[in-house]
């Protein structure tokens, strides 16, 4: 569907107003602008594509329903939509908390054996995929206030100022939380990175015997 060029220069708030008034193309343009950020945030927070799509859908339904509650002087529409998304993510977490995954086995022996077998046998692409999965698991296991900043700044690639406006806190708070979150992540990944020396020198056979 062709978007009229005059819509392209409109702000998000104006597009929402036009969309509520019945301009479908304005709604499509607004959806195109916001969907990626909302979907990525929901995906990284819930680790599920289905949940991320559910959140994205509900955010746009709520945007239309609660458009009168948006006050332009209090912040950007993207931040308003992010607030809605965050509430839905919390609801999903609350709904699914009984099914929380068991903590990962990070004992040095297990991790070292895994690392050695990967280094020797698996292709590089699989190791990269495995690393990505481990980092994602580590991010998911962070406390909520650290996870939010890692997802927003590192994974959704927002600036510190944008993340601060989304989370309604100071930029300094974002910086300090991000620093602590990185330290925690590095600590969680440490067993994979530096296996026990005696196991490493013994080789894979040493692990099996």
């Amino acid at each position: 569907m062709d978007i009229p060029p005059e819509f392209s220069t409109r702000s998000d708030a104006e597009l929402l107003r036009l969309a509520v008034a019945g301009e479908e193309q304005a709604f499509l343009l607004l959806y195109g602008r916001l969907k990626a950020g909302i979907f990525r945030y929901a995906f990284y927070m819930t680790s599920s594509q289905a949940n991320a799509e559910e959140v994205t859908q509900e955010v746009f339904v709520t945007l239309l329903k609660e458009s009168h509650n948006y006050q332009q002087d209090r912040g950007a529409l993207a931040a308003f939509a992010f607030g809605i998304a965050r509430n839905f993510v919390r609801r999903i977490e609350h709904r699914e908390w009984p099914y929380e995954a068991l903590p990962e086995d990070t004992s040095p022996a297990t991790s070292s054996a895994r690392l050695i077998s990967e280094s020797d046998a698996l292709p590089a692409q699989m190791i990269r995929t495995e690393l990505a999965e481990r980092v994602q698991t580590a991010v998911a296991s962070l406390p909520d206030h650290y996870r939010q900043v890692v997802v927003l700044c590192d994974l959704c690639e927002l600036s510190y100022a944008e993340a601060a406006s989304r989370l309604r806190c100071a930029v300094g708070t974002i910086r300090s939380r991000l620093s602590r979150a990185h330290a925690l992540l590095a600590k969680k990944l440490r067993p994979l990175r530096s296996p026990q020396p005696e196991i490493r020198t013994a080789g894979p056979e040493g692990c099996l015997i």
């Binding site: 479908e24 990284y44 859908q57 239309l64 990505a132 590192d154 990185h182 992540l185 440490r190 990175r193």
Partner: protein
């Protein structure tokens, strides 16, 4: 350069500097800092991989969002709800159908107890008798409600608004099957008549009751405590 300065420099794991000559000199001498930088580089690599491996929202999502928008703009009909809520509705409907089927199966004529000859009329006699106390006169005359073709649910308020004479003969004794033992104590309250649609599999027990589309309808008498007292398959 001190260790503190170097750690500040490498604070961001996503830093993409390929060369850092000033810091390299320090790293060559300080193993702790070298380990720190290595850890941050690995974390940065992992975060970039996670970032690159993010899926894209499906095309179906856009279609659903657009459908929601169109329905909302046209006239606020019910929105297309999320997958979870649809499942809740489906499962609730399935459970209700199972309960209705179980009620029919449990009270199949072949399994009907001898006590079912105890008619609803005798069981409800204190309620239907004219000239009893004022309280009993205000009760819903469910026998008349059952004979009304257009109403499926009669409330006590409707009965008070348009009081009808108590029936001299209750059709329950002819049509309704007792679903539980009834006496003046257990069936003393007002009754409601609810018409329900049963699964087509219920036609095995009442073949004559099945309509052209295969649906079976039944009238269920429900007491004020919410427990079903009697059922009658609509012919």
């Amino acid at each position: 350069m001190t260790c503190h300065e170097l750690r500040l420099y490498f604070e961001d794991p996503l830093r993409m500097d390929a060369e850092f000559p000033r810091e390299a000199e320090h790293l060559a001498h300080c193993t702790e800092c070298a380990r720190f930088v290595e850890a941050r580089h690995e974390l940065g690599t992992g975060l970039r991989l996670v970032c690159e491996s993010a899926p894209e929202p499906s095309a179906a999502l856009e279609a659903v969002v657009l459908a929601n928008y169109r329905r909302r703009i046209i006239g606020n009909p019910p929105l297309v709800r999320s997958r979870t809520r649809r499942w809740v509705v489906c499962w609730t409907a399935a459970a209700a159908a199972m309960v209705a089927l179980a009620a029919v199966l449990l009270h199949h004529p072949a399994r009907r107890l001898e006590t079912s000859n105890l008619t609803m009329e005798s069981a409800q006699r204190p309620m239907a008798q004219p000239g009893t106390s004022e309280k009993s006169a205000n009760r819903v005359p469910w026998t008349n409600a059952a004979s009304s073709p257009k109403t499926r649910l009669h409330s006590a308020r409707q009965a008070r608004r348009a009081p009808q004479p108590a029936a001299t003969k209750s059709p329950a004794s002819e049509d309704f099957r007792s679903l539980m033992y009834c006496d003046a104590l257990s069936c003393g309250g007002a009754m409601q008549l609810i018409r329900v649609q049963l699964p087509s599999s219920a036609a095995a027990f009442e073949p004559a009751a099945a309509s052209s589309d295969g649906a079976i309808y039944a009238d269920v008498l429900v007491g004020s405590d919410g427990i079903a007292r009697g059922i009658r398959v609509v012919q």
